[in-house]
Symmetry: C2
Subunit: 431 residues, 2 copies
């Protein structure tokens, strides 16, 4: 079963907004066995939207669109879909009642523009949008399905989870039974990921070469390097459709093949799931009933933000001190003023005292401290931009290391987070 995603909105094409919707949707669709063939972003322009719909329907059985459903003049998706499916707008009482309830305390919002939100295409099946005013619209065309959703990420996510995926599952069963559209049906797509730290992509590829050359035809290996980590992904598509689109008679045992991969990776593999590093660390800490704090200079709260992003983080994450200014390093974390002056903020003695200081202050088992030159200014010949000291304080020891993590501010911050989390994960694995 193949799907395409079309995200609609000028803001995407001028770079005002990053399309985060598509990746989220693709993950959820894959989990349901639906493959995403292409993602396209197009302008709020009738002719262009129609062209994109035509192209997508040529390749896929399901087309999902987001965006262009607001009440203002620049949003035209609903009108374009009416023309495309030769239908007209009619009022929908259920949608009307929902919108009136949604804005019952906001009479100013229940105005004549908002009223246009309960006009829906006559030919569409309407699914409720529990948290917004734009209804979800489903169209059927030659045994194919189009679903139009709002572009606001929170609304789209709730719509997908509660309405769209259940609807597609129900209707794809119809496809399978009737044998229509040549679809592979909702057979499962499997992705297994191993995270490797400290081995360059090409070195890794040589190590795996023989094994990779002997992979069964329905299994496919991908290398995804970023910030010093290579994510190795083994993918398996549905029974009758291989990754290359050809037919494969038999489904291989992907679990057994993945196990071979892990044996080849040995200790270089730091995780066997495609989870963020902060979740991997969080799970290790939870297992040990241990807690963590961070003292951050160059990462400036990013580690904190990563660690508590996940639900349930209060079980292991206590807090952080973002010590951006040197006065905070001294006054709050207790770093010796003379060390700041003698060695500078980006130095081993300072980063060690930061880690130990925050561990003592917040009374945690572990602590990570970062101090580096993220640029664009502040670099010297001795400590160029990209120089980063990281320290880890544990119940038994404190250790620190110096790294050179790139040239761009964002890159240096990201790599500092990756490096500091990975080293602690490796430490917990062996301790």
């Amino acid at each position: 079963m193949q799907c395409e995603i079309i995200t609609i909105g000028d803001e995407l094409l001028i770079g005002q907004v990053v399309d985060t919707n598509s990746a989220w949707m693709a993950t959820e669709l894959n989990a349901c066995g639906i493959e995403v063939k292409q993602i396209s972003s197009v302008h709020d322009d009738a002719q262009h939207i129609v062209a994109a719909l035509n192209e997508a329907f040529e390749r896929a059985d399901i087309v999902l669109t987001t965006g262009g459903l607001g009440p203002t003049k620049d949003d035209i998706t609903k009108h374009v879909l009416c023309d495309y499916f030769h239908t007209e707008l009619i009022p929908d009482d259920t949608v009307k009642a929902h919108i009136e309830a949604l804005y019952k305390d906001r009479p100013d919002v229940l105005n004549r523009l908002t009223e246009t939100q309960w006009l829906v295409p006559k030919a569409a099946t309407i699914l409720p949008n529990r948290v917004g005013s734009a209804p979800l619209m489903v169209f059927h065309k030659d045994n194919k399905i189009l679903v139009s959703m709002p572009g606001v990420p929170y609304e789209m996510k709730i719509a997908m989870t509660e309405q769209v995926l259940p609807y597609l599952s129900a209707h794809s069963a119809v496809f399978q039974r009737s044998g229509l559209s040549g679809a592979a049906g909702l057979n499962s797509i499997i992705h297994k990921t191993a995270l490797v730290y400290g081995v360059p992509e090409s070195v890794l590829a040589l190590r795996l070469e023989e094994w990779e050359n002997n992979l069964p035809a329905d299994l496919h290996l991908a290398y995804l390097p970023k910030d010093g980590i290579v994510r190795l992904r083994l993918s398996q598509y549905s029974n009758n459709l291989s990754a290359e689109g050809g037919l494969s008679a038999q489904r291989s045992d992907s679990a057994a093949v993945f196990k071979q991969l892990l044996e080849l990776l040995g200790d270089d593999c730091i995780a066997t799931e495609d989870k963020p590093l902060e979740s991997i660390l969080g799970d290790l800490l939870k297992e040990r009933h241990a807690t963590i704090a961070t003292a951050e200079s160059c990462t400036g709260g990013k580690l904190a933000s990563l660690l508590n992003k996940q639900p349930g983080s209060s079980a292991f994450y206590f807090g952080s001190v973002v010590a951006y200014d040197n006065s905070v390093k001294h006054n709050v974390l207790g770093v010796r003023q003379e060390d700041l002056e003698t060695f500078g903020a980006v130095s081993e003695p300072v980063v060690r005292q930061m880690a130990e200081g925050v561990r003592r202050l917040l009374k945690t088992d572990y602590a990570i401290a970062t101090s580096g030159i993220a640029g664009p200014d502040g670099g010297t010949a001795e400590k160029p931009v990209g120089t980063v000291w990281i320290a880890w304080a544990t119940p038994t020891e404190t250790f620190a290391q110096c790294f050179h993590l790139g040239r761009l501010r964002e890159q240096i911050t990201d790599r500092t987070c990756v490096t500091s989390l990975t080293k602690l994960i490796k430490y917990l694995h062996i301790s």
Copy 2:
């Protein structure tokens, strides 16, 4: 001059990676007067890449691709481009010397896979990739241009800035002189944005209706609502191409029209540039030579991370205490234990003491404190998920307010950041 972006990689289509490249590229291209017509993400699949190239060349003069240039088996872009442009791979001595210099300290990386990186298509113009091993490849076809770049964001950004944009500028001048390809040439694209807080989209649209209906044909207004802010964008495309693709004889005075918009918005407009809220606040603080700190519970370091993301933030941002656990609120920020017990962590007395505590501890002029129930657990009938208290401490007073900011963890965190920054921006505007 129209352009299309094609991002290549299975990881984009299975949701393993969010395509942040395209938005960044679109912003830079727009600034050079190049309009982005469509963004497409496709699999590492020869047939599919070729189809996407054909479709893009039908619509645009310039096609930019990212991804698929690594040394491993799953990366096929270079080979597909060779077939597409009927050419073959040949070794390039300049690229070879660059790669050997790049990995001079890593003999293990200078292996036979990495060696394939200095094979380049004979028909391509090669531009140097200063920070990576994959060369940038430029192809010309029927007076149109294709540039293939690596997908790693840092490499792509340096490639675009230092190589691709200068190359396109130089070559589009050739287009203009020869009058080829019907391109509008590198005339300027103008986007002017006003940020409005606290007015729902439909209410705003009614207020602007008459003015919007009378906009000149070459100006286009777009509404972009998110987290309680509406970004109003007035766009003007090139001289001979209106937003709808039609011809407009004359270019309007967009500055004068934008001024009219600002008059209609009055005090509801909190900024007249499309800058992040943290930059707007940063600039206001820098003007006043004032400093800020944050004490964060439910935002967990996100405010800190936003405030110091921008270069030069050390002028106004001192640091933060992420007080996720109540012990940190009490021990580090000095929140009274009895208030934590009597009123709970999400309460006015606690959030006020957090703001005042961090302002005192870090010795700053201003402070923001947040404490809320971000969920999914922890909600009660009295304080449901989404309840957030925010406090602002200033040199003269402390004020606090309770908000209800949604139901999803991520949404609540984002909206808390937006609300806390916006309120302080408004306060600084009038104080």
